[in-house]
Subunit: 160 residues, 4 copies
């Protein structure tokens, strides 16, 4: 088929400031408004805020968890996937998406950005890592002006 | 929350006889009729037949794939999860379910039965592996009389 | 090259009786005497006893651990591999071996037996699981008369 | 125990220029000269060059492979670990080391750098990624002046 819905990942830290959470929530709202499915790592911080935003708009939310217990998912995750695979679940989060939006984030988020870029999956960044090699900037992360712009760019860049 | 729906796994071979596929399809239908979500490995054979059955009743179907491309999912999977983790995805299939129904199956299915029993997740068997140790039967797989009985037993045994 | 040494896996429970540990230790000794490398899950019980036996004969021992800290390896593991992948490390234990010897064991061991048989890797059993399907025995596990016979059969069956 | 040898990872691209390969080979030589064990992803490019260097000095080399066949390891890998876990093996490479040296590299290498920094494992860089967040540089990658300096820094930074 492939009349399947678009899946957009939201990645970022599990423990974030209210300001960052606000950005993630706005991203989640916009994803749901645009009719896409939100995929994340299922825990707190950016993941929870994004799911809360999507849920508020009636969107579908998938949380791919590192542990073995689906009850560890944040309350706004409608589809919890418990993997028992630790941080290897980062790979599954990213491979399940057609575009990824990174909001802030630390090293775990950086691993997800790396896996997404490796697969050629578009990564849109909001106040996140900047990468360069040998002094050459231009890492592949696409900057966005804000939540709505990030989601618009994600949808536009999905190879359909 | 945990007003989440019950997730029931259907495991079995990727290349099966029409008779086995018929059993799997009936299991999928019954899962959907009972309002549960069907989780599987997302590919063909038992997985596809079960998803077809669930989809025919309007049920939700999740396919947790070994590869990196969600387009490998059978056409009745509504939520494809691409892991890129090979057979380690068997662990994620089982950990995401609250009960598992095994229909026929070969060694891959046996690995899933083992992971489910290890976690204390009920495993209902339809014409599948029989396990014993040191001549003592009673492996933990619960026999069912048919598709409807298997789903009834799965729901009854879920620790709620 | 492939003048590499033969790698033989020893799988079994992490908490076993002295009698079972004695069998595992004898298996480890024999693997080292035959010049093969012992691979296991790196923890206690059968894994530790087998490594102790191999180490006593000057053999090389590899422990592929579920967690992130190599210090969790038993003291007879010379090459600890920390995966952080939970039980998915069972797959790596088995895929790294050319034959597997199962000593007793519970459901985790059963998952490893299943992954080995799936890949066509010979599995030799000492007082371990018996598998049958639809009443037909003959699961693919090869019975051995004792530790020395198990190692002899493993080496003989390796496809060289 | 923990009279175990130090394990140092060498990460980098699978297809590199002769100049980059030369740097990796020198890193491998120096790791072996210092009596440490070299851990890598087991394939070509930086991995193969580093193993060749270590092997020339009589060092021990471990290759943690993405696939299921140990014969995919480069010829200088003495201990091939076949995982069947795809890029999730990157996590095992990094978790098995006490320090990591990154030589050049693309997005796969970046995922390994991220997993190492996440665990607090020192990462020494030779002509590799530069990371910054919100314009603030100082990502945690420690620059080295050359192969010998990289290995010296790795050993010095290992928390013993």
């Amino acid at each position: 088929m492939e009349d399947r819905q678009i899946f957009i990942g939201v990645i970022g830290g599990g423990d974030v400031s209210p300001r960052v959470a606000g950005v993630a929530e706005a991203v989640g709202r916009e994803i749901a408004r645009r009719g896409a499915v939100l995929v994340c790592g299922g825990l707190g911080g950016v993941m929870e805020a994004a799911c809360r935003g999507a849920a508020a708009e009636g969107g579908l939310t998938i949380g791919i968890l590192p542990g073995e217990d689906r009850r560890a998912a944040n309350p706004y995750v409608k589809i919890p996937i418990a993997t028992g695979l630790g941080y290897a679940r980062n790979l599954a989060v990213v491979r399940s998406c057609q575009a990824v939006i990174a909001v802030d984030g630390s090293y775990g988020t950086l691993s997800e950005i790396a896996f997404a870029l490796q697969a050629g999956t578009p990564v849109i960044g909001l106040n996140t890592w900047e990468l360069s090699k040998k002094g050459r900037a231009g890492s592949g992360i696409i900057a966005a002006a804000g939540p709505a712009d990030a989601v618009a760019k994600a949808i536009e860049l999905i190879d359909t």
